[in-house]
């Protein structure tokens, strides 16, 4: 499978916060040949283990996506909803959605808005808020089966364009693709450190999954990966490789230097991101797990984050995997930090 296709499949999978099963099956299939074991832990993280010797490394990428949760359904089948994770109401209007209900079935809906012909001039400048938006689920013959607490995500298929992929859930499944690619790279080596690829649950509501996994795995190094904003003004751009988060209290300084040196020595493109406090990613929880874990954060540049058309560059995904695999191999036999 091409890397672009893997990104598309991961993005298309239905995986609202806490309900990531469908994403797990895509990942299991892709990473299976390159690891020794995969399992799901109690809280819902999928963990793929590449057994080796020496250091124990954890790689954390979250596979949930920003989602909607049904709060009420009226007698005609119009549903009200709230957001899980930060969602801009502007990008929801006129989207198709998929709703998964307690009976396990998926139903469709449309987030509608009054046609321009019937709007009042005064309200045209205003975007409906979550108090006003609705999902038209009346189109389902059995819409009464949709209930409070059912989860929904935007129904849009990812696609490739000019070396990029656009889709609804590349935050953070593009980084899950990096993990899968890293496992593939590592499979070329006869000896590697032990690497736990942790595909975490519920990041979008406070990085919940990473915490439990990092506690349980007793790792020597934690590497979190998440997306970051493509932002020319801050020198983070698509196509220029992963952004290594430099400085900041969340990042282990010596490991950072080793990673940065490895990138330079091997002429792998990187750029730098900066966080002065907590990073707002899984890295926050990994760092303080157990008796503390040396932690790094790699960020994949992304455009239009938390919209149904997030964009990442395929070469950035491939480059980051090369960097990580090489870095892990280089750590083998490296002195204890």
């Amino acid at each position: 499978m091409s890397l672009a296709r893997l990104l598309i499949n991961l993005s298309n999978a239905f995986g609202p916060v806490g309900y990531e099963d469908e994403v797990h099956s895509v990942i299991r299939e892709a990473i299976g040949p390159f690891v020794d074991e995969t399992y799901t832990d109690e809280i819902g993280n999928l963990i793929a283990v590449k057994k080796g010797s020496g250091k124990r490394i954890g790689v954390f990428t979250h596979v949930d996506e920003v989602s909607l949760v049904i709060s009420r359904v009226d007698e005609r089948g119009f549903a009200r909803f709230e957001e899980l994770g930060g969602v801009d109401p502007k990008v929801l209007i006129s989207q198709k959605v998929k709703i998964r209900s307690r009976d396990g079935k998926e139903r469709s809906g449309v987030i509608g808005m009054l046609a321009p012909h019937l709007q009042k001039r005064e309200t045209r400048g205003e975007v409906p808020s979550f108090d006003e938006l609705f999902i038209d689920a009346s189109i389902n013959p059995d819409y009464e089966k949709i209930g409070v607490g059912d989860l929904a995500v935007v129904d849009i298929l990812a696609f490739e364009m000019n070396g990029k992929v656009a889709g609804k859930a590349l935050d953070d499944r593009a980084c899950a693709a990096i993990s899968i690619e890293t496992a593939r790279e590592l499979s070329k080596y006869s000896t590697t450190p032990t690497v736990y690829f942790v595909f975490t649950t519920r990041e979008e509501v406070g990085a919940i999954g990473a915490k439990g996994a990092a506690e349980a795995l007793e790792i020597d190094l934690g590497v979190a990966m998440d997306v970051t904003h493509h932002d020319k003004e801050n020198d983070v751009e698509l196509g220029k490789g992963p952004a290594l988060t430099v400085g900041g209290p969340n990042i282990h300084k010596k490991y950072f230097e080793l990673l940065d040196k490895h990138a330079k020595d091997n002429e792998i493109k990187v750029q730098y991101d900066f966080t002065s406090g907590r990073t707002g990613t899984d890295a926050d929880n990994v760092q303080i797990a157990g008796t503390g874990v040396p932690t790094l954060l790699l960020s994949l540049p992304e455009m239009f984050m938390h919209t149904p058309v997030e964009v990442v560059q395929v070469s950035d995904v491939a480059g980051t995997a090369r960097l990580l695999a090489g870095f892990f191999i280089s750590l083998k036999g490296a002195e204890e930090q």
Partner: protein, 346 residues
């Protein structure tokens, strides 16, 4: 799938001025069934089904082939495209969508700044169309210029979907009308009417009723029936007494709309026919929006017409919703009206 061909029609790209794909698709289907067919100077597709000659009257049936969309206005230094609307498009339905650009249908996205970095006070303000951009994966103007130019059409990209009695698509307005005309023609198989029937799939309705008058002047009909897709409004924003129409209540009959009060005799004929055949129908209870009937009233010496529509929620957006039974009701009523020919006898 109940309406396979409506799916094909709705998925075809055809904004105003770029209706060729829709017209040629229709032509390929209807050509064997008509006595003559031609595409005129502006792009209208007109087909003639001859009668016995007992009556010298001519009936025109009309639907428009175009849909609303966007057009490239400027190629920016960063390789993105600025655009403007073709027909009435609300900027609020555009963000976070996939679009197809140009004659080669290059896929792109209308993204929007991430919520994390937006000015929170502007979160619920409608951005102007001029502030939105299409991103196609180019990083420089020169790259974009290789494949695109100003004036390139931009199409919504929505897959048609049917769920139970409902369907979702981008361009029911007015591909439902286009399909109604095809189905009327099919229902006339083996029939010989006394009068001539002209089928006109006209262009550029959405930018000011541009095609219909040109078509009518070639036909010189005695009466016309316009098959449209019209706004519903039966969603939660409005109390029911302000709905224009409602899904599931049958074909929509119009007594007046923007720019025209419709011919009462034709309206009465339509109502009588519906009642006699127990076809449930509804009236459009708002006069917002217009149709090609307003143009027909202003060409030659004025052509009287009736308007019958399939109602649609979220019209002019990439995800409009219809009730399939409403559409089938329009087809039934329309076929009866044409076969009986009473709209011509006044």
């Amino acid at each position: 799938m109940k309406l396979e061909r409506l799916k094909d029609l709705c998925e075809l790209p055809g904004i105003s001025g770029f209706e060729e794909k829709v017209s040629s698709f229709i032509r390929s289907i209807v050509e064997p069934r008509v006595d003559s067919i031609w595409t005129d100077t502006v792009g209208n597709l007109i087909a003639e089904k001859k009668g016995t000659g007992k009556s010298s009257k001519k009936l025109m049936l009309l639907a428009h082939t175009d849909e609303v969309g966007l057009m490239v206005k400027k190629i920016n230094e960063d390789g993105t495209l600025s655009f403007t609307s073709v027909g009435g498009v609300d900027p609020r339905v555009l963000m976070g969508k996939k679009v197809l650009v140009g004659k080669d249908f290059v896929p792109g996205v209308i993204g929007f700044e991430a919520i994390h970095t937006q000015d929170p006070t502007a979160l619920l303000k409608t951005p102007s169309m001029g502030k939105l951009r299409i991103y196609l994966g180019y990083s420089k103007k020169e790259e974009a210029q290789k494949n695109h130019r100003i004036g390139d059409p931009v199409f919504f990209d929505t897959q048609y979907e049917e769920i139970g009695d409902y369907a979702i698509a981008k361009s029911f307005d007015d591909r439902t009308g286009c399909e109604v005309l095809i189905r009327i023609l099919e229902s006339l198989e083996g029939y010989r009417l006394d009068f001539d029937v002209y089928f006109a799939w006209v262009v550029q309705e959405e930018v000011g009723l541009r095609g219909s008058g040109v078509a009518a002047k070639q036909i010189k009909p005695d009466a016309a029936l316009v098959f449209e897709n019209t706004t519903a409004g039966d969603n939660p924003e409005l109390p029911d007494y302000r709905w224009a129409t409602s899904l599931g209540r049958g074909p929509v009959l119009t007594f007046a709309h923007s720019g025209l009060v419709l011919d009462k005799r034709i309206l009465d004929t339509i109502v009588d026919t519906a009642k006699k055949n127990s076809i449930e129908f509804q009236y459009k209870s708002r006069i917002a929006g217009g149709t090609d009937a307003a143009r027909l009233a202003r060409v030659i010496s004025g052509i009287p017409s009736g308007v019958i529509s399939t109602p649609s929620r979220y019209i002019h957006s990439p995800t409009s919703v219809i009730n399939v039974n409403d559409f089938l009701g329009v087809v039934k009523l329309a076929s009866l009206l044409v076969k009986e020919g009473k709209v011509l006898s006044r």
